[in-house]
Point group: C3
Chain length 344, copies 3
Amino acid sequence: MRLADLAAEIGASLEGDGEIEIDGVAPVDAAGPGKVTFLANAKYRAALAETTASAVIVDRSEPVAGPAVLRSDNPYLAFIAALSLFDDRPKPAPGIHPSAVIDPSAEIGAGAYIGPCAVIGAQVRIGCDARIYPNVTIYPGVVIGERFMAHAGAVVREGVQLGDDVVLQPGAVVGADGFGFIPMGVEPPLPIPQIGTTRLADKVEIGANSTVDRAAVGETVIGRGAKLDNLVMVAHGCRIGDGSLLAAQTGIAGSTKLGRRVMTGGQAGIQGHIELGDDSAVAAGSGVVAGVRAGSTVAGYPSVPISAWRRSAVLIRRLPEFFKRLRSLERRLESASEARKPDS
Amino acid sequence: MRLADLAAEIGASLEGDGEIEIDGVAPVDAAGPGKVTFLANAKYRAALAETTASAVIVDRSEPVAGPAVLRSDNPYLAFIAALSLFDDRPKPAPGIHPSAVIDPSAEIGAGAYIGPCAVIGAQVRIGCDARIYPNVTIYPGVVIGERFMAHAGAVVREGVQLGDDVVLQPGAVVGADGFGFIPMGVEPPLPIPQIGTTRLADKVEIGANSTVDRAAVGETVIGRGAKLDNLVMVAHGCRIGDGSLLAAQTGIAGSTKLGRRVMTGGQAGIQGHIELGDDSAVAAGSGVVAGVRAGSTVAGYPSVPISAWRRSAVLIRRLPEFFKRLRSLERRLESASEARKPDS
Amino acid sequence: MRLADLAAEIGASLEGDGEIEIDGVAPVDAAGPGKVTFLANAKYRAALAETTASAVIVDRSEPVAGPAVLRSDNPYLAFIAALSLFDDRPKPAPGIHPSAVIDPSAEIGAGAYIGPCAVIGAQVRIGCDARIYPNVTIYPGVVIGERFMAHAGAVVREGVQLGDDVVLQPGAVVGADGFGFIPMGVEPPLPIPQIGTTRLADKVEIGANSTVDRAAVGETVIGRGAKLDNLVMVAHGCRIGDGSLLAAQTGIAGSTKLGRRVMTGGQAGIQGHIELGDDSAVAAGSGVVAGVRAGSTVAGYPSVPISAWRRSAVLIRRLPEFFKRLRSLERRLESASEARKPDS
């Protein structure tokens, strides 16, 4: 693709030779001739100075020397547009593979691709343009909106409800039984039947091998546009607000409610039966054991406001010095007291 | 179902109108007319006051005003009985789907449901009334007791032994090779063949996408009635005692032994080659690096008795104040020493 | 097998009766007559004194009394050789099951076993002697070297490249879409197309239910001989160096680079966009938020050199004592100051 055409396609203004041929997108530290790259993180500005990429997408004010430059008011959106142009990953054509097993009572919308050995249970309803990869299992009674995409090995348990544009990465499990057992002393713990369900709103994405359990009663809910990374655990009865972003290996215990646009870093853990307000955030690796106010960011375990955590974290490293200073004070007081003794 | 009938079915005494029609169970903060609810957590007592549920299950002494009341000596068990009554999730009828692939040498007990694309290897023996969902894989030589339930995508590796009433949630993996490699300097680490196996006793449940590795030699063992939540990792050679409850994302390194009824919170991590006594507990997010005495609860990383951890956790937050007080003492001593100098 | 023959097979020198019959390998604390065992961990030296095993593999200098002894310069390698001799786990014979679904355009090398309901997409190329277990999914365009082993339920997404001798444990997912979304305020976060790929070099092993995401652009790379335990997350754009060993539930955020032979303990977390040098190590449960120098070991969260972390960890436990001593000093200074007042 000519660079000038690329610029037009992604709505960027061009500085440099529009005749250059562009054949792909590459990260700034690995891009070479023929590639367009992108400054996404200030850490890579130095690498940008040395890139041999043919062009770079930046914002209006970025000082750049060297390759051709594509300037955009929103370089992120321009970058996404460029990625889409060069996305050559194979897409399956509509069609149902003969080895797929679809219950006769299931209703599948037009335009679906259903891959080999995918299994779709009784009374399932799926909207149009679904893409269901091999070895996916949809249990009976599941209701799914338009443009569903389920990658290989994903599992949707009985009666789960999914909105439009839901994406399940490989191995994602939606609607497994919640972890509810009553300890019985010397007898095995007694399972609490998990008769509730799970509901994912429109535009929810669940990462590879993540699990969103069904509720004991009622629903576990993932709000509109919320995205879960890989190996995330959402326990029974949780409600995750619209647009929340949960990074990999986050775990959320039962009945906890996250507001809208909550963000968690990787390996964050959140206790059950608490609430996190809209636009709150949890730093990676933190353990949240109490409610979090809207708009605030917490860190540490037990978590505290991130500024307080940072102060404590620095001081923990200084504890050895601190103990020495304390010991020194004690010695000075002792020697002072010794020194005074003869006078008394 | 009439409320009076429900009361009789679950063995509760009724206060209120037995003619009310009940059509389901719901959580206290989402229950409406026609629903029976349950006070499971004192946090929800306030919500109970405002519920529009038609009835509530409580213990003998709970003060309740408003809806009809079902009193039970053990409201948890009564609640479970009510859940079972209203459990309308579809259950598969016995029968083997023609697309399931069962080795001719496998022996399957009466009453089994085996779903589409489930695969059962040579010499496998499975007891009666098994329920094996689609896309499950049972490797050769596996021996399984009665009433086995394996949800979609679960995998049981070669030679694993499972007792009666074992439940595998979707994507659970039992008997994968343990992580054993010998570093070889500049050459790739050398794999240690994992020739042992895994044994799950009766009434064990393994959560969605959890993994219980086979032993290098001997067995990895999960004791009777132990329950693992989702995304739990049990490494090769571990022994988990009867009735233990391991919350989501717990990880246990190789050859560690947990006693009976050990409980771990979410994201707990336990080092290899140590022992945790009967009825011990590990708080969520903690890292255990040494043995734990029977009956004790530990927290933190490295973990200490939970009371000590709580004291330290509070004091960590006070470190900034602490440093200030130390600095203030130092200044006072310095100025005192300055003040004395003229006298000397 | 006669013990003398075993000794010869594993290249060990024999002390004791070579006519003893050996029928298996067992851990030191569970071995009985007929078994050969192994001293792998000094913790088990006491157990060795009490073992009823028929023979034990040790190094040249280990003092051992009791059973027959097999001495080796490298007892670990001798132990591996013994394990291989007694590895009687069933291995599938070459052959393609009729229920496997292989696209006509795929090229599969000689000697392959392909199990029931395995699915292999268009344009896939796989080297000789592959072993692909049931319900595995290989997406279109994947290129794989010799002796590939993929356990049940593993998924390899489109266009991924795998070297020779790659092993995927059950449920491993390679090449799922990276977690890239742009927050859009009240609108759902916008997905960044993940058009890059994933490459695993020779002799890489990925643990059960682990996930290695594809890059947004370019490649996610796992170096030669690197081994990932179960439930490990490697995010988009990471590069893991040759021979690295990542223990279970480790998580590595996007674009981070690990050098050669990096080791992480279980549940370690590593921030995105940083570098860890060759032969560095991260203690279990630690959170790394900055680059780590080659050869160094870090611990804690935020991580520091492990010796510093150990000092701090000890002192954290002493904080209550510390606060008391501080308070005591303050009181002494106050009373001293009170005592001086009358003189002034």
